[in-house]
Assembly symmetry: C2
Homo-oligomer: 206 residues x 2
DNA sequence: GTATATAAGTTAAATTTATCACAAAAAAAT
DNA sequence: ATTTTTTTGTGATAAATTTAACTTATATAC
């Protein structure tokens, strides 16, 4: 039946389900239920079942879900039954931390290219990668057919970098710069911004 | 009329409005409109007006919003017309990056305490702070009356650290560990997890 | 001075999202 | 072997959220 249109808010919850299933698996569990899974992450059992029902039938009445099977299925749905090469643009403290993060690999991603425009860091080795000149970004990204990128440059340069990434064929951008970026239709963008999250919380504090 | 109950989804958008208004201000603008603001961040003008209407009347027909005034008001609503001291627990690469991040200060936050359990880093100086022994976390956090904390320890220790933070009086936790954490009623929690965001995007890629 | 354009705040409508409740199926208990 | 319990997937219902439309006010153009 192909990929029907699924609400984005549903898609956004799938990675959390996947993460939690993997954790259950690490804890030695083999099966779980919409109820058991939901308790873990404070999501109702009905919602989990409804969400999954957009993609097929993965459970069994009376027993629930076979964890390894549901993981497989979710990985396929989310297209992480493969490893996406990523480009990282900007190697300040944050870029450094991301380059050295060992958590991507087992979840469908790996850093492949690192860029910066600062001559003092270009050519240096970070987490096993030679930092490349961001002037050659378009060329190198195209050559390596990289489709996913992370931006950790400062706010003033984030839009320009994003534009160049898009030109190079990048289709998904994770932006750490605290600024909204415009991308064309068909290019995905997500934001990571601690200040946004902190201010969201302080609303509820006195 | 006090603080009526405002949908959390509305509250979640306010920090983005604030961020964008500050940016407009840096660009030299003095006024904006729901339309102008919305265009920047791909949110409809009606939604911005509706969101703001939960908190009062901040604009003027015909002209729109005075940026500096709206910034002031949003800062008050979000309780960032003050500076919140923060504790940072865990000083790996990521903790390092956060400790050195210069962006918190102008948005209502500052790192005040840094903790780790690794004897080789305890006592060392990071971004001007002496890393403290996490065994003394409760005591020191209470003493400094810190209400906001960031967790950058590994997944296996995140819940335990969160529990101890809560015991110490922390009321808002920003968790960077890729695991869901349980906190009691009245304690705020938010997550930052690049893998979740990346997988959300790869759903839409082929 | 009058007409036109801009734009907030709000009420109503439309849409989206989440919950509920139940039939069907499997497993466990008696 | 039958009853009870667990649990899925789903259609119906309820709730939440967004959009649209409208009234009022201000500013600008003529």
């Amino acid at each position: 039946m192909g990929k029907r249109i699924v609400p984005d808010i549903v898609v956004a919850r799938l990675p959390l389900y996947l993460q939690t299933l993997k954790q259950l698996q690490r804890e030695g569990e083999y099966t779980t239920s919409s109820n058991g899974l939901g308790k873990r992450i404070d999501i109702s059992a009905a919602q989990i079942r409804k969400d999954l029902s957009h993609f097929g039938e993965f459970g069994k009445q009376g027993t629930g879900y076979a964890i390894s099977y549901l993981i497989e299925q979710l990985e396929e749905i989310l297209n992480v039954n493969q490893v996406w090469d990523m480009a990282l643009v900007g190697v300040g403290f944050l870029g450094h931390a991301i380059a050295n993060f060992r958590g991507f690999n087992s979840h469908g991603f790996q850093v492949k290219l690192i860029f910066d425009n600062n001559p003092t860091v270009i050519g240096s080795n970070i987490a096993g990668f030679i930092v490349q000149d961001s002037n050659k970004m378009e060329e190198i990204i195209q050559e390596h057919n990289v489709k996913v990128a992370m931006i950790t440059v400062d706010s003033d340069h984030a839009q320009e970098v994003a534009d160049r990434l898009v030109k190079s064929g990048v289709k998904a951008i994770l932006n750490y710069a605290p600024v909204t970026i415009k991308v064309p239709e068909g290019v995905q963008i997500q934001y990571i911004d601690p200040i946004i999250e902190l201010q969201h919380m302080t609303y509820y504090l006195d």
